[in-house]
Amino acid sequence: MPFALLKYALAKEHPDDPHFRWSPELKSSYDVIVIGAGGHGLAIAYYLATQHGIKNVCVLDKGWLAGGNTARNTTIIRANYLTPEGVEFYKESVGLWRGLSNDLDINMMYSERGHFTLAHTDAALRTARWRAEVNKHLGVNSEVIGPDEIKRLCPTINIDDDVRYPILGALYHPPGAIARHDAVAWGYAKEAIKRGVEVHTQTGVNKIIIENGRAVGVETNRGVIRAGKIVQAVAGASSEVARMAGFLLPIRTIPLQACVSEPVKPILDQIIVSGSLHVYISQSARGEMVMGGATDAYGLYSSRSTLDFKESLMAHMLELFPFMGELKVLRQWAGMADMTPDFSPVMGLTPVQNYYIDAGWGTWGFKATPVCGVRMAECIATDRQPDLLKPFALDRFRTFDLVGEKGAASVGH
């Protein structure tokens, strides 16, 4: 162990972490207030400061830094979606992810593993072919492969046909990656703070002040703050916060559960997903098997874990990876997911002037962190819906221009 660490632990005084210089006092007004200090909110603040020169920005959070879904997802990053709108959006995100460790000067542990979406039925195989064609057309590396090729690339998987749902093939997406989720939030936070952005945790918003149809400020547990513009990035609580601004959302809050096994030596290099079986698994850098399933069967504002979830997850997992029978579950949790009717996010302008929304991230939010930050910052700075975000506008429900995204995680095909 480094002696510096030991010395620090035994010292009586602990100097501030040089990464985060917290601002003790709230100012009375800011150019932009970001509600929610998760990956998305912090990324918006960072790109407002770096790309648009808007540095008088304050990020508020009721809890602590990145304590919500940023810390609760299974960190899968990919661009192999089904709709052209989705593929274009996530393709830009993957491009940003690749340079993020350098941009933010923090080791993101971005690790390209290859992403396999297994097909166990003819219908799922058909969707896989469809996705592969859309992906290739838009310059995203995806192809459909058969069981033998899956076994060659991922030797630990069971491709026998004496299981309930034998593997017929897979959509193979080589750029599929995982990253260290905390580093994403910390990286954006420290670089944003360095440029003058303030981050205030333990600061809950109780009311959004609207005057003449314009958002002009917020009431917090630490007093009133005025703002030129306000953006909400509060996955799980999106409906409750939007209600304070005076409008309803096409969102239901439903838990998405996950768990990790005890750590073991590297045995699974790939990211394996099955939409039909509602499972996904990858092995993290520290050796834990990171596993997730489908969203719960009904809406709930809670991050509890259930035995039902683990039973159904493990039943399928053991058919895919019999060796998993040797492993114990180490941690279990849930995140509160914003589920939209079309499995696509809601981003951009709202019915309230100077009020912007970043919501509806269901089971697909982490991978979008950088691109959402860039484009939402553009939206806020220019007060225009950027082209890339046009398909995801809140208004699409009024005009029935839904973006049916069957490529989303935990969506059966």
Binding site: E240, T253, A297, L300
Partner: protein, 96 residues
């Protein structure tokens, strides 16, 4: 195992049921397209006590439950008829 009590079939494992979402007041037939669209897509999605639709799938029985969406406590369940009698009484009460 979580138990949900169907007003017709009694207490059953919640895995036998399908969630139908919050109860919304259906707009008048003459309502505008926008009002119908809002009815179709928008949800209150309240963190707290709500009335919601449930289906007991094996018997195809729809009914109403009152549940707290933060604690997951099911306060009561009732038939659809009982729910509408209650809400019309409440409306009558508030008008009087």
């Amino acid at each position: 195992m979580k138990i949900l009590t169907c007003p017709i079939n009694g207490p059953r494992n919640i895995t036998e049921f399908v969630w139908g979402g919050e109860v919304k007041a259906m707009p008048d037939a003459a309502s505008s397209d926008d009002q119908w669209t809002e009815y179709l897509f928008l949800d209150q999605n309240i963190a707290g006590e709500i009335y919601e639709w449930w289906l007991h799938a094996p018997t195809n029985t729809w009914f109403i439950a009152r549940r707290n969406t933060v604690t997951d406590h099911i306060i009561e369940t009732m038939t659809v008829d009982a729910y509408f009698v209650r809400t019309s009484e409440q409306r009558g009460g508030s008008a009087a």
